[in-house]
């Protein structure tokens, strides 16, 4: 269930702006829908997303029910040094996923 995919270019020049795409597998249940018998389906969404570059936070997003299922988040960062980018998703019902990508900067 808890799966995520990130796309980070493996190599980059120093100072280059690289595009990062992330996709998490999650239904993003809004909490506004009802079952056929009229009961409200409880909310189950990803609340926060964080991206850290060698331990320094470079991007953070707060998600709300209006984000589509399997949230796609694409953003950019400056390739400063070789190292790892870590991605963290956290949400309702104890949902947490961590993904790591390596980047080599020349």
């Amino acid at each position: 269930m808890a799966r995520a995919v990130v796309t980070v270019p493996p190599n980059a020049r120093r100072g280059e702006i690289v595009e990062i795409k992330t996709l998490a597998q999650h239904p993003m249940e809004t909490g506004f829908r009802r079952t056929q018998t009229g009961e409200l389906i409880p909310r189950d969404i990803i609340r926060t997303f964080r991206c850290s570059y060698n331990g320094t936070e470079v991007f953070r997003a707060e998600l709300h029910p209006a984000i589509a299922a399997n949230p796609l988040i694409a953003f950019t960062t400056v390739a400063t040094e070789s190292g790892t980018l870590s991605f963290e998703w956290a949400g309702d019902n104890g949902y947490t996923v961590t993904e790591i990508a390596a980047i080599k900067v020349e």
């Binding site: 809004t30 506004f32 991007f59 953070r60 997003a61 984000i67 796609l72 988040i73 400056v78």
Partner: protein, 156 residues
Amino acid sequence: MTTRREFLVLAAALAAPTAARAQVDPNLAANRKAAFQAALKRIAGDAPVRKGRVKLVLPPLIDNGNSVPLTVSVESPMTEADHVKAIHVLTEKNPLPDVVSVALGPRAGRATLTTRVRLADTQTVTAIAQTSDGAFWSDTAEVVVTLSACLEEGLI
């Protein structure tokens, strides 16, 4: 001849749609508008929100409101002295006005964000960016939604 039982069943069936309609809040539009204004105030406080610098890209005609690609980009040098601190996306007619709030800094290189959103109705979507000097900039996009996201008819 109609028995008493048949009559009661028929009466109940006729009464049901009326009851369902009664559940829809007559002040829905006003409440949504108030919620949008409250969200705007929470983000910007009393600071003025000016048009410009922000570019919000959404398809103008949307077949399926459940997944709409959205891109926000802000004109900014993204240096330590002058960068975009935050980007917020708000809607007017979704059950909740907030869509996404992003915190970024000079390490982002470019102030852009791409995601996919849900839209409950034909409406105006607003993107607001806060720059490091505390100013707020915004852009709006009008969208037409033919199939709304995850809500029953009449609740919109």
